[in-house]
Symmetry: C2
Subunit: 239 residues, 2 copies
């Protein structure tokens, strides 16, 4: 946690009544809001932009790993949607007269590390990694957007909450898991590992060091995990 | 040439007066038209769609190979533009009540082979390969579109002639070549190898077997190579 300077104020988070919002064509996940945290906009935007660019990289490299034409199209569509989000976040950084490359470089180390440890040994593992980690991190950043300044937060929340191509990704995962049930239990185990790594990054993002001992963010993390569990359930995987 | 059945009528091609058209933000290339060839629309569309999807794969995998954020954005933007073209071609196949996966599978073998032999040993070689091969093949398919039925050809020609993100790709190539001049002579050699492989695919596409001995298509290929030479010149590379 010492890697990156604190970028949130140290007020305790407060969990709001979860709201349902559409995500992809098929699922509804809980929206978590932490209205008492005050993320620094530049750090928030730099991280969010770097993470979306990471999704572009992951999905872009997966396009050639899957043989079916429709899979290639699903994956590149999802990559294009992540690129749109990245570009929208970069535009917000520019609008604040800050340099996108600097904002992203400042936060690159923990995110690059995260990307390395969550890369799968097979394309299917990497695709599940995208689904699990982007689901958790999108929920986190959408939740945090409610605490950004009012001239920024709603726009960013809408941007991050827009279609991520999840339905197509879920189609591929469901089909592959149905082919080989043993694969399902293996992927379930991989999914648990991914949650651990993602929550480490999420905790670093929320930066509990020096706040009320971490206890106060527990409800927030409980909500993130509950939404994750519903995503895994939808795939027939044990979270 | 025996791999794939003939899909063009056997009339001789005729070279039209070259026209200039904008391509990317910086360059103008010659538009070649072969108005006396009559490509079979399904084969044409299947090939063109598969080739554009190949561009998505190549560019998508390159995104994580380049470290700079702006390069990642340039490459994923170009991938997104190739995806749009692919999707537009798939829509044309569907409009003809044909199955896109079948149309693309029927032509997959020579295109997959072509993609394997034109993949570079380094990201920079692969990027030059995208630039060189997509330039030649786009010119070929745009030229052939003039011979498609009038309810199809102009739409496809416009689609293939739209922005391909070339300016961003050229920016990366120019920068990398300027860093190391010896790299330039190596890439020039690689470029000559790429032209050979691309013209083999182009000849297969035009399918000279059984026509007037191939002689009649020479002016067409001369035009394709002239446009290629201008692209290489723009990079300071000897074609």
């Amino acid at each position: 946690m010492a890697l990156v300077a604190s970028w949130f104020g140290r007020r305790g988070p407060r969990r709001e009544t979860p709201r349902l919002r559409a995500r992809g064509a098929r699922r509804a996940v809980t929206r978590v809001e932490f209205t008492d945290l005050h993320p620094d906009p530049e750090s928030y935007l730099g991280r969010a932009a770097r993470i979306q660019l990471g999704h572009v990289e992951t999905l872009g490299s997966l396009v050639s790993d899957f043989d079916r034409f429709d899979d290639k199209e699903r994956l590149s569509t999802a990559a294009g949607l992540a690129l749109s989000k990245h570009q929208g976040l970069v535009a917000e950084i520019v609008r604040r007269d800050e340099d996108p490359a600097e904002s992203m470089s400042a936060v690159a180390e923990p995110i690059d590390h995260f990307r390395r440890v969550t890369r799968g040994a097979t394309p299917l593992e990497t695709l599940l990694s995208f689904h699990v980690t982007s689901g958790l991190l999108d929920d986190l950043f959408i939740g945090l957007s409610a605490s950004l300044p009012p001239d920024l937060g709603p726009r960013v929340g809408n941007l991050l909450g827009s279609d991520a191509g999840t339905a197509g990704v879920v189609d591929i995962l469901e089909r592959e898991i149905s082919v080989d049930r043993r694969m399902g239990s293996f992927l379930a185990m991989w999914g648990r590992r991914l949650v651990g790594d993602t929550l480490l990054l999420a905790r670093e993002v929320v930066d509990v060091t020096g706040s009320s001992g971490g206890e106060s963010v527990e409800p927030v993390f409980t909500e993130l995990i509950a939404a994750h569990t519903r995503r895994m359930d939808a795939l027939g995987l044990t979270a």
